[in-house]
């Protein structure tokens, strides 16, 4: 058992290595840079590869190239870099190329307040790339959870053959916290399923009965197949046929949306008897948790619902929550992004309010307590 003080960004790299990361390509940007630095240090020692690319777009492109060649791959960035990566995230989605994209959020838009925290990329992590698609976005809220969620991000990427967005923020990325990592943990590690058939029979994008996604050959493994960002049929070659497009694009959405039971994770805190709920995630969920404790001590029946899987959203759970409480407050370090999703889901069943901030400051527990009390006593 290792007990130590670890930084959030450091825990991300430790988790990635535990998951089997063997390739990292990226570009330096605050506040994610430690992830690149620590990957550069660690990867060659385990026979992996690190490359600092010439720009953010090169970072995601090389990451996808590494994954197509068989290595578990990751890149990390922050706001402006996440914007630059979007086109190729879409490429990863349509070509079903597993990889992990870490976005340590900072204040924006544009260069914004580069060293200040924000949770302003909630919607960008859902709809950042163009076109209809589904995506998996995870958002841990402690150093220990960053470690395990990074492993899970790799597992989901490999299992569902898709880019997985791992959202962090400046606060949890940079803070150091106690973490305990067992020497011999029994963490499940998932690897992509590779084809074993004769290469002449390999259809690179055909899903076998009982499987969720097609088997994935690595370049150089003996299966000479084609990968394209164009709509393609089961062979991988481009097609303009509407039935082919319909089948492919809906399959890419369904493989995620139909497996929410497996993908969606969340934490519930003091919700059993609650009549007020706070929905909050990442660093701000920690402010909310302290606020819940304070409000409880003052007699308010408040609980916290913390999505760890942000996308696909925990729709079923939010409906259930909405049927139990008289009000939900969505507390997030932005102007009300996830609020739109929670209101869409829960708005028919209960009141949904929001509290946010976009000035580079953290939301304190005191502020949340004041907002809830003022509203409840109005």
């Amino acid at each position: 058992m290792t007990v130590k003080l670890m930084q959030g960004n450091e825990a991300c790299v430790a988790g990635a290595l535990r998951a089997g990361m063997k390739f990292y390509a990226g570009y330096p940007i605050t506040p994610s840079t430690e992830i690149a630095e620590l990957s550069a240090e660690a990867l060659p020692k385990v026979g992996g590869k690190f490359i600092q690319m010439e720009d953010e777009i090169g970072g995601i492109a090389a990451t996808l190239g590494g994954s197509l060649t068989g290595l578990k791959s990751m890149t990390a960035t922050s706001g402006p870099g996440f914007s630059l990566k979007q086109e190729n995230i879409g490429y990863g989605i349509i070509t079903e190329t597993p990889c992990v994209i870490v976005n340590v959020q900072r204040s924006g838009p544009s260069t914004g307040l580069p060293t200040s925290p924000a949770q302003g990329d909630i919607m960008q992590s859902r709809w950042g790339t163009h076109g209809d698609h589904s995506i998996i976005t995870l958002y841990p809220s402690s150093v220990k959870e960053i470690y395990y969620t990074t492993i899970r991000a790799f597992n989901l990427a490999e299992k569902y053959r898709t880019p997985v967005i791992l959202l962090l923020d400046e606060i949890i990325g940079h803070m150091r916290e106690k973490i305990e990592i067992p020497e011999n943990d029994d963490v499940e590690i998932i690897d992509r399923k590779k084809p074993t058939c004769d290469p002449s029979e390999y259809k690179a994008f055909k899903v076998k009965d009982g499987d969720i996604v097609p088997e994935m050959a690595a370049f150089g493994q003996g299966y000479r197949y084609h990968v394209t960002g164009l709509v393609h049929d089961e062979t991988g070659f481009p097609s303009g046929n509407e039935h082919v497009a319909d089948k492919l694009l809906n399959r890419l959405i369904d493989k995620i949306e139909n497996n929410k039971d497996d993908i969606v994770t969340y934490e519930e805190y003091l919700l059993d008897d609650a009549d007020i709920a706070i929905v909050s995630f990442g660093s701000i969920a920690r402010s909310s948790k302290t606020a819940v404790d304070t409000l409880r001590s003052q007699g308010y029946k408040v609980g916290l619902f913390r999505p760890i899987t942000i996308w696909p959203s925990p729709e079923e759970q939010l409906v259930e929550l909405a049927s139990k409480v008289k009000k939900i407050y969505v507390v997030e370090l932005n102007a009300g992004q996830y609020f739109l999703e929670v209101e869409r889901i829960a708005g028919r069943h209960t009141q949904v309010g929001k509290y946010g901030k976009i000035n580079g400051d953290i939301i304190t527990p005191e502020e949340i307590v004041a907002v809830v009390k003022e509203d409840q006593n109005a």
Binding site: L5, E177, K289
Partner: protein, 175 residues
């Protein structure tokens, strides 16, 4: 043990973030929970620098200092900036180059941290370790054994004796 919230402030390059990390690591060695965070300007050296440490026996949720129990300020600028965040009854540790502030609801320790490092020890960069020694004497927030262990595991090889002396000088600054 109650939740302890500490803020170390000064200018960039004074080793305050390292100081915060060391204190948090010492607390973990004592079996406590600890959380360290920081904020800084765009400058790598100079500019304002701030490190925060929270130590508790319980789970630490909110990761920032809200009711500051102890403020360390090595520069006038940082003392002026953060003094108001120190809660009534809190502890202020300032270098003796910083003016005594006009507050009578706090405990003030005005001690020669920078000059001890620079003149007595001959190495200005160990000011953070001197400060940690002094803070230990005031609060006993972590055990002396864990603090020394944490210092020695973070400082560059070959500087162990120097840093042990810095700690000792720090202990002695507060009687």
């Amino acid at each position: 043990m109650k939740r302890w919230e500490l803020r170390f402030s000064g200018s960039g390059g004074q080793g305050l973030i390292t100081g915060g990390i060391i204190l948090a690591e010492a607390a973990i060695l004592d079996g406590k929970n600890a959380l360290q965070s920081q904020s800084y300007g765009p400058e790598a050296r100079g500019g304002a620098s701030k490190a925060e440490v929270i130590i508790s026996d319980e789970e630490i949720s909110f990761p920032k200092v809200e009711h500051c129990d102890l403020l360390l300020s090595l520069t006038q600028l940082s003392c002026d900036k953060y003094l108001s965040s120190l809660k009534p009854g809190g502890i202020l540790v300032i270098d003796d180059s910083v003016e005594n502030p006009d507050r009578d609801d706090i405990n003030i320790y005005r001690i020669p941290i920078l000059s001890t490092a620079k003149e007595k020890l001959g190495k200005p960069m160990v000011a953070n370790i001197v400060a940690l020694g002094a803070i230990h004497s005031i609060t006993e927030i972590v055990s002396q054994e864990s603090l020394q262990k944490a210092v020695l595991s973070r400082v560059p090889k070959g500087t162990e004796e120097l840093n042990k002396s810095a700690l000792k000088e720090g202990y002695g600054l507060v009687k």
